[in-house]
Every structure is written in C-alpha cells, then in structure tokens.
Symmetry: C2
C-alpha cells in the first residue's frame, strides 16, 4: 500500500553517468546507472533509463505519479530547459517537455547542486536543519541553499552560485570567463595545478615520480594520495587549496548564518577538505558565528541527487 503513496521516479543526469531510481516512502528502489548519452538524443536515453529503473523497482507504471530530474548545469528561469551543460553539450534544450512527452509524467527539474542540497537536508546529513547550504567541490564548485526545507532559488533562479564568488580579483582564470573565482582557486583542477607546479619546481618527489613523462598524470586524486603519504609539495598544494576552501565556506557562513554547511563532491567529500572548511569558519567568521555553524560531509553519496530529484517531484505533486 505504501507503494501507492508518493511513489515517484527520479533521475540524476551527470556529466558522465546517468542514475535513475524510484522513490517509495523512505526508500530508493530499482537503482540503475548508465553512461550519459551526449547530444540531442539525451531525452530519449534518459526516458529509457527511467523505464529501466521502473522495471527494476518492481512497481507498475501506473503507480508512478511524477518524475524529478537533476541536471548538471544551469536551467532557464522556469526550470523547463537546460540552458547549457559543459559536458553534455546542449543549449536551450527543452528536456522537461521531451521527457513529459516520452514518459507521460509531469516533470520537475533542478540543477545538481540544488537537488543534492534538498536530498541532504530532507534525507541526509543536514536532516531537520532550518537553514542549510550544500557546497559541492569537484571539478567545479556548486551550491544549493535550503531554507525551512525548501530550495531558495533567488530572484532569477540563479542563487547559490558560491563557486563564482571572487576571492582574488587577479587570481587564475575561471571557466566562467572571470578571474579568481572560488571555483578557480579551490576545486579539483586548482589542486591538480598546484600539484603540477610543485612537481615542476622540484618540491614534490612523489608527484615527480607519478608524472613520469607526462604532467597530465598529476590529477586531483594523485595530489591527495601523495599528500597522505607525507609528500611535502603535495601537502603544500592541499593546504593552499584548503585555505581557499575555508575562505569560501566562511563567506557562505557569514552571509547566510546556516545551521549547517554540507560539504560534498569528489574533493569536498574528503576528510582533509572537511577539516580545512571547519578551520575557515573558525578563522574567518565573527563570534559567535565561528562556533555555531556546523560543517559536515554529505551522507547520501550518489543518492543525494536522486533523493533531491524525487523530493522535487513529490513537492510538485503537493502544489499541483
């Protein structure tokens, strides 16, 4: 019987992997994961993945009332089209409408950071928080703000662009075209670049060895690994990145005074970076904010986006 109460499908379209599942009560069922298909066939491929999850969930098609979708990039203001996505390579792509046609389900979409934020607040590490901010640190830095259990989207549905807070006006170039953004200073590529510089300057025996003939071998994981093994240059690279992470997280705390900041993503989810983020709040926020804002890692992993998408779909049913 519970299967008929609020069963919705959820899909999380990532730059490389698309995940889908069916949310029934407190459970995700029938998880499937396939490579994301780039280009104009995206909607058809996603619809197929949703059908696969539905089949794997054991629920009947008629038991599903809505679909929630997490997409890797900004949406149009009405959240019906994907405005652009770096990896998937589409612009002004009417994804919601295409999926509604293909699946005959109402579709609600949001970006990955917003979905993951909603997931972590309602089902994960920030459960019950009045105000929570998710900061996702991976190849970029995204943010999602949840106030009283609902996404805060701002006046033009662009809120939470924490990755593009400028922390150094003359800093390194950012993918957005500006310089010194939080993302350009504290995301994975910035850490990897510092590791390569350390190798080039001869300050990192471990990374020089790792590089062999090609500096490309020095990626985020390699620098984190070398640092854990005590390599001096790698430790410096981690510390420099961590200090910027702390600055950005502290800026979020100073502006929004959240109960909790959830740090996740390939780099943000590491214990090292959690420690640097906490230190940033302690070192840069005024009293008593410096001791009040909790910083934790996400607890849902790859399910955060799916849960967020499912909750969006459930929310759309509530207001429909």
């Amino acid at each position: 019987v519970s299967a008929t109460v609020g069963a919705v499908a959820a899909v999380d379209i990532g730059g490389t992997t698309t995940r889908a599942a069916v949310a029934v009560g407190d459970e995700l069922r029938g998880r499937v994961a396939v490579p994301t298909r780039p280009g104009k066939g995206l909607a058809d491929a996603v619809a197929e993945t949703v059908r696969a999850a539905l089949a794997a969930s054991g629920l009947a098609r008629g038991e599903i009332d809505a679909l929630g979708v997490s997409v890797p990039g900004p949406l149009d203001a009405k959240r019906r089209s994907v405005a652009f996505t770096g990896n998937v390579g589409l612009r002004h792509y009417a994804l919601a409408e295409r999926l509604e046609t293909a699946l005959e389900l109402p579709v609600t979409m949001d970006d990955d950071a917003n979905c993951a934020a909603l997931g972590e607040v309602r089902r994960g590490a920030a459960m019950g928080a009045g105000v929570a901010v998710l900061v996702v640190v991976g190849t970029g830095i995204g943010g999602g703000i949840v106030i009283d259990g609902r996404l805060y989207r701002g006046a033009h549905a662009i809120a939470g662009e924490v990755g593009h807070i400028v922390l150094e006006p003359d800093g390194p170039p950012c993918s957005c075209g500006h310089r010194g953004c939080f993302e350009a200073l504290a995301a994975g590529p910035a850490l990897a670049a510092r590791g390569r510089t350390a190798a080039r300057d001869g300050r990192s025996p471990a990374l020089i060895e790792r590089a062999g003939g090609s500096m490309k071998a020095i990626d985020t994981a390699a620098v984190l690994e070398a640092a854990q093994a005590g390599d001096h240059g790698a430790l410096e690279a981690v510390a420099a990145t961590g200090r910027y992470l702390g600055l950005g997280v502290a800026a979020v705390a100073s502006m929004l005074d959240p109960d909790v900041i959830v740090l996740s993503g390939g780099l943000g989810g590491t214990p090292d970076m959690l420690e640097w983020a906490r230190r940033g709040v302690r070192d840069h926020c005024i009293s008593p904010l410096d001791s009040l804002v909790r910083v934790v890692n996400g607890s849902l992993g790859d399910d955060a986006g799916l849960w967020g998408a499912a909750l969006l779909a459930l929310g759309s049913k509530e207001v429909a």
Copy 2:
C-alpha cells in the same frame, strides 16, 4: 480614523544620534533627533525621546500600540538584549524589557542594517522586490536580507554579516579581530587610510594640503572631496576602495541572486561607490546574473531605520 489603524512608535538608536517618530499609515510624524546618551541610562533616554516624538506627532498615547527599535549592533538571539554596541558601550543590556517597562508598550528590536533593509524594501528604493539585500557602507559594513517582504535572519539571528566576508586573508586587520574582511577593505576608514598613505607618499597634493600638520584631518569626506576635484592620489584611493566594494557586492549577488542590492550609508550612498558596486556585479558575476541584479542607492536616508523599526512593530502586532 487612520491614526487608530496601525499607529506605532519607532526609534533608531545610532552611535551618535537617536531618532524617533510615529508611523501612521504611509507617514512618519513627529520626528525628533537627539544625541545618543551612552551608558546604562540609555533606556531612560530613549524612552524620553519616544515620548517627545509622540508629543510632536499630535497623537494620543492610547493611539500607539507598539514600539519598534533599531540598534547599532548585534542583539542576542531572541532580539531582546543588546549584545554589544561599539559606540554606545553596553553589553547584555536588556533594552527591550527596560523600554517595555518605561513605556508600557510591546517592543520589537533589530539591528540597524536589518531595520534599514526592511524600510527600503517596504517603503523605499527596493519597494516590491522579492529578494533584496541592503549593504550599508559607512564606518563599517552591515547587511540586511529581505526575502518576500520579511527579514531573513538565519539560523542564529546573525545572517547578513557581509562586512565580515574575508576578501584578503592577509589583508588589513578588522575590528572583529580577523584580517582582510570586506569592512576592513571597503568601509570609510579604509578609504581614509588609503588617502593618508597617498599623502604620505607624496601622491596627493590636495590631501597633503588638507593634512597640514595632522594626518587626522584626512577623513573619508576629505578623500572623496579631493577625488572629485581630480586629485590623483585621492582618485586612486577611491578606485582601490571601490574595487573592493565591487567584489563584496558581487559576492552577495552570486550567493543570493537578489532582485536588487540597495547600497547606503555615508560612503555607500555616494554616486562614486554606486558606480563601483555596479561595475563589481558586471565584472565578477556570471552571466546572466551580471546583467540581472540591480544596484541602487537607498531612497529613505535617515528615515530607513525608523521605517524598518516601525514595520517590525507593525509585524509584531500582526503575529501577536
């Protein structure tokens, strides 16, 4: 008859001047302004000022239902005590209770930036905005966030501390004990300090003349004036301060995606700084945020805090 609908008293306690008035409909009546009395006699002095405003307003004591109070500094989490105020010099001072006893009116308090934000959104430059942020730039930098016509206070009633976003971790010391805060880089004292440096370095003929025997003569107003007269060193000081102002305002825009940012205060209210703030949003925010967020000066001047305090008092009546 309108006098009996929602007539409330409002008082704005500033570091140097205390203002009071009575709000009746769309009007402030019986404005009075007196020097702020520092120390423990503050509540009695404020009560006296409120009584003076009431007398000047022509309304009878029985027509006033509540009092709203704007204070120059952080409050306790319940907004009943003044936690500290740099200029007035009190700690843990139970101002709300004292005023309630003295005036036999329910009292609602908030800090000056929150009150001014509420005033500008509901009666001033940001009227009708869904999301508005006030940035007050004077001797310090304060912030107030209004979402859907209501103050956003955060999880611990400390939200909007935009002045303590750290923009330069190794920057100049800030009154909060940290370094490189937005306030330490872009408020009046930072501009004045840059003007003094320009005078010392011989880059500012106008400010050298102004200083005469004492560098103390070079204050914020002197630097702005010298810049308007075309003095090179003063222009550089204004530009350096303006660039930091632009960075901080852009950080606010990136995080909150507001309809409008209202810039006010002794320095923030000048045309020069408005231009730098707009330039900051244009130069540092991602597209399309860079063209969507409006930046305007406040339109209520000294009345912003009074209006905000009055609206707080009216709001407390609504929920009471």
